[in-house]
Symmetry: C2
Subunit: 228 residues, 2 copies
């Protein structure tokens, strides 16, 4: 499949942001204009315009009024940005004393400015980690990424024991709160009770009982303990 773009023109920061956003939005279905606009806090009209440009560059497949999907070329860019973002987050936490609630904003700017060299040196300094501080997997330099099938805490039954692996938000306030509850990736969690109709979940963490809202519990991604 031939498109007109000559190998690798340098992309703008904006283009990189769009591609990264589209990557995280288009799980099964294509990403819609309004989803993208929402994520990037832009007017839908602006997104329509950028979609045209990125499609022309062969980075997106656009079905008008239906949404967009990344092309292979687009996915390469998106995964490079995701790798950068998550490695920067890990580096800031590990070496510069950042809390996990502060790294997102910083990484959001740095990911556009670091060289391939710098990223690989940071990766090496970190010992080539496979996940960032939120438990999000870090794509390899070749773009390989392993997205395990985690279960949201909100879906576990009372009595189930699991390990928290990943926290599905970048919201600073929520992250601060989650950390206060001791809910860091790697921690074992027992579901004590669960209220019906999307009610709160009562859990036991670090030998303390905590109650978390359903919404929050949806963000707490776990693996069930192998206990059968």
């Amino acid at each position: 499949m031939m498109t007109r773009h000559p190998a690798t023109e340098p992309l703008t920061h904006s283009a990189e942001d769009y591609l990264k956003a589209i990557y995280t939005l288009s799980g099964d279905a294509p990403a819609s204009t309004s989803q993208i606009a929402n994520r990037l806090e832009l007017a839908p009209a602006s997104v329509s315009g950028m979609i045209r440009r990125l499609s022309d560059q062969g980075l997106l497949d656009h079905e008008p009024y239906r949404g967009v999907l990344l092309t292979d070329a687009g996915r390469v860019v998106a995964l490079r940005m995701v790798r950068r973002h998550r490695l920067i987050e890990a580096y800031l936490v590990e070496f510069l004393g950042y809390g996990w609630e502060d790294v997102h904003a910083e990484a959001e700017r740095l990911e556009h400015a670091v060289s391939e060299t710098l990223i690989e040196r940071m990766a090496a300094a970190l010992g080539h980690p496979s996940v960032d501080p939120h438990g999000d997997p870090i794509p390899g330099p070749d773009g390989a990424i392993d997205e395990p099938d985690y279960v949201p805490l909100a879906l576990l039954e009372p009595g189930e024991v699991a390990e928290l692996r990943r926290v599905g938000t970048n919201h600073a306030g929520r992250l601060r709160y989650i950390a206060e509850l001791g809910l860091l990736p790697g921690v074992p969690v027992t579901v004590v009770a669960r209220q019906p109709f999307e009610g709160p979940v009562t859990i036991r963490v670090n030998d303390t009982k905590q109650v978390v809202a359903h919404d929050l519990a949806l963000l707490l991604l776990c693996v069930r303990d192998a206990n059968d």
Copy 2:
């Protein structure tokens, strides 16, 4: 003196680059349009345009056809960029295994992307250094900068003993070469001979004799040894 700009609008990366360039260019005399164009590798017309905008924002004093000087507000920005640039250089060398010839390009991009927080954490990790790997002084968080009066090696007389303190170039090739000669800041240097008419200088460094071109020797900034 009142200008119209409302405290601190966010500046673009370009504007930051211009102000930093003008800072380093306007030692005694104002910086001319063509000097700036040269430094930033832009067409003079583009510089004229940006000078207008920066003057309107109260960051530059522009005397048409004469050149520009930084206002106090402009100098604050310029010094913030210089601090960032040099701290980033120092950090990359100290913690990420960079050679001093590679840090400039990386810092040139990162300086626009780092937060105040990140810069101060890097400064702390480095122990608040006063100079970068090239011996260039690092302005304080308040903008205070100490520019000592160094003597170019090219001006020392045969027999004089001095300590190399600062290397006045960012050119990667030259820096690599200078490092090969063992001419790192802090090293003691003895002038053995000097050819007339801007000829090469023969020196003794680390007990080895080296010959350096006049041009290069102008970049090697020293303090004479207190030996009288």
